[in-house]
Symmetry: C2
Subunit: 259 residues, 2 copies
């Protein structure tokens, strides 16, 4: 399914609506509540998702919604929007403008459109099946990375891996050219525009990864789980994104423990 | 020694000169060489420092210079500029706009003026003895943080600690409200404007920390080594910055292993 201009326009307006809320609260003394999984959530997360839901209710009432903060609507719809208003709430609270609003569109469970939006510094990656990925409207491409020894690798933080996952990540990091921490969903935009070669994460949920495939694949990259399977509504939460399939294959072997 | 307007103006023009170079190279396909300590350096680091040195040669030929990339000049001068064109070269290479240009001015070895500048997204913190710290010209203040259990803690990455340092950091992190990775010198600006409560780092060099004291102290915070000693030309590389002296004291006890 190839998203038409109307769907791309709606995705852009969702990001606009979310960003307007987020900019109002960034570095403005917002405090966090803890969710049951101890991850933080703020009034900015909740109001930004509500703004996107209000727009969808008005413009696309038949579509499904899966949102990080306010749950599911219209389950079983052919088209479902997957919303994460602030992916990187800790970075948002810390005042670091490298969190992202993630907007994915699933067609029968398969991601066909993705937006990675940084509303404070106005950076927006848009990817959709059948089109080149853009950053602020201009096409972007991944960069070549023939092997791990040349790779710029990033992950949000070591605390998101379990012990086994941490050892697997460390096997990749030990062979990489450069290791950088921080960035949540924003990191995947950096793969799409050729700044990063690999992003490796664990424990992600659908709202964290639904937007990533269209953005990275439309820029010439590849994103799968750690076993090389496509990401979709039924995926687990381990994500391996790469600009170059050769670095992806080598990282997958290192994650699995092969030398 | 209270820096006068002429010195503050010169510091701002140094940051302007460095930033013009850095913006030209950001996300522009720059590659890194490895320095002897295996940290990366790029043409952007070298040219940005050269641009600052050329300005100092023209405007303040009698001042001393300590630069990360091009060494020392006029050792023994009463006033010495300490230059780090890109603090966070890995973040620069990864395309993350949270590295910083750090400019410190020492009077007889004691920091009296500091600039933390993010040239891509145009954020500049300026601190000087006898003046309130500003972010883009507007005064900023730290936020209150009565104890570690309320603290937003940040560090660049776990790989910069040795094993003992990592255990000490983990003791602080385990009691903190929120832990965020990434940011190098930019993190200290976030303490000064009340987004972060604590930044804890190890292995820093003079060019990494000379600018921090004036910025954080002028915003109402405190920055010392892990034993509570003032930072200056003779300091070791362990840095503990806090917006609130109570959180600073509790973090210092946790770093030392006290319960």
């Amino acid at each position: 399914m190839i998203p038409d201009d109307r769907l791309l326009d709606l995705a852009a307006r969702l990001a606009d609506a979310s960003g307007a809320v987020i900019r109002r609260y960034f570095r403005a003394g917002v405090d966090a509540d803890d969710k049951p999984d101890r991850s933080p959530v703020t009034v900015a997360d909740r109001e930004a998702e509500s703004a996107m839901r209000a727009l969808l209710a008005a413009e696309a009432p038949g579509h499904g919604i899966v949102g990080e903060e306010h749950g599911r609507e219209n389950e079983g719809a052919e088209l479902t929007w997957v919303l994460d208003p602030i992916d990187g709430t800790k970075a948002f609270l810390a005042g670091k403008p490298i969190f992202a609003t993630l907007i994915g569109l699933l067609h029968r469970g398969r991601p066909v459109l993705g937006v990675i939006d940084q509303p404070v510094i106005s950076e927006r990656w848009v990817g959709a099946a059948g089109r080149p990925t853009t950053l602020n409207g201009a096409p972007v491409r991944v960069r070549a990375c023939p092997g791990l020894d040349r790779a710029r690798v990033s992950t949000t933080g070591p605390q998101y891996f379990d012990d086994e996952g941490r050892r697997a990540f460390d096997r990749v990091a030990a062979r990489a050219k450069l290791l950088s921490y921080g960035g949540d969903g924003y990191q995947y935009g950096l793969v799409a525009c050729g700044s990063l070669d690999l992003v490796i994460e664990a424990g992600l949920k659908l709202h964290d990864f639904a937007a990533l495939g269209p953005v990275i694949e439309g820029a010439g990259g590849v994103v799968t789980d750690w076993q090389g399977r496509a990401l979709g509504a039924g995926s687990g939460g381990d994500v391996l994104a790469a600009g170059d399939a050769r670095a992806h294959a080598e990282a997958m072997r290192a994650l699995a423990g092969a030398s």
